[in-house]
């Protein structure tokens, strides 16, 4: 049964998943397929925003709870994955903002600093010094610029899809990505260890 569901998940389309979700009898099956289809992509998208595995796990679960509660209100005006990415992005950024608020009394309240500290302590990060420095440089970008950079650099998402997801123009996204690249490169070249 599991294998059957797994095999089906590889070929099933968003429309078929939505069709299953609209039926009371097949809802659970449809939702399992939706998770199977998108859990990894959403996980890595979230992980690159929050950096730490445990936080990514929490945010991914919260994302699917939101989806579970709201999937029947999805009107199909955008693609399903665009809608899912939007929820995941909002959940991840809200998670970071809440985390920063909890630490506002300390000097470590700034999101970039919080992320840097957490990344250094994360057992599920096994990158070398340069990879760590790169992640910290990305973490210090403003929220939206960080999301744009990750979507383009790691997920290679076309600007047009990103524009639909983030409700921003292609031109603005290109400018944002280019600006982020310049900032990161400058940071890495400077070898600023205080990040």
């Amino acid at each position: 049964m599991t294998l059957q569901t797994s095999a089906l998940a590889k070929t099933i389309s968003d429309e078929q998943i939505l069709e299953l979700l609209r039926s009371e009898r097949n809802f659970e099956h449809g939702f399992r397929l939706l998770m199977r289809q998108y859990k990894e992509r959403l996980y890595w998208h979230i992980r690159r925003i929050v950096l730490v595995h445990d936080d990514a796990d929490d945010v991914l679960q919260n994302t699917f709870i939101k989806v579970y509660k709201g999937i029947l209100q999805f009107e199909g005006k955008s693609k399903l994955y665009t809608w899912l990415y939007r929820i995941a992005t909002n959940e991840a950024l809200t998670f970071l903002q809440n985390q920063s608020k909890q630490l506002t009394s300390s000097l470590d309240g700034e999101t970039g600093t919080v992320l840097s500290n957490k990344l250094r302590a994360d057992t599920w990060f096994d990158g070398d010094a340069i990879q760590q420095q790169l992640q910290i440089a990305i973490a210090h970008l403003p929220d939206k610029q960080r999301v744009v950079f990750n979507l383009r650099y790691y997920e290679e998402m076309p600007y047009e899809e990103m524009a639909q997801m983030l409700d921003t123009s292609v031109g603005a996204l290109k400018a944002s990505f280019h600006h982020a690249v310049k900032k990161i490169t400058a940071t890495m070249e400077a070898g600023n260890q205080t990040l």
Binding site: K39, R48, L72, F125, Q131, L134, E156, T185
Partner: protein, 171 residues
Amino acid sequence: MSNLMEELEDLSPWLKDQKKRGDGMDLPEGYFGDFEQRMMERLAETPRAQKPSFEVKAANKHRWRIPRPYLAAAASVALLVAAWWFMRPTPASTPISTDLSTEDVQAYLLDNIHEFEVDQLASLETESSHLPEAGAVAPPLPPQETSDELHPEDLDVLLRDLSEEELEEIL
């Protein structure tokens, strides 16, 4: 070569090279394997949003199709009525003592003693302290009290002396 790589070629060759090395992030083995099951267990406690019922909505929309000006007028009237109801003078605020003399009150009590609870009758001693003020409005009592008149103090003493059985007989 993807568009991204072309883009990075011009923007930052260093980032282009780094991309090939990966991001250094790892995750627990088998993490995705049991993810759906863990989620379904958690979702079992989560209420699912119901599919919007267009039929009910349409029926309700038809039923409540009242023009907004009428709704506003009805709401205004309701507010005015509510305001009047809460702000109207209450009859309880009129002191009974302005119309009734002490004798009248006592006579009424004796005539209708069966309608009062024992506690109420016992509390007359306290209330009787207000009666002289009423006497100022009502005609003053004659200096010699008639024998069939009963003072509140007397009534209180009388009630205390009565046994429960006697009181039940009276009532």
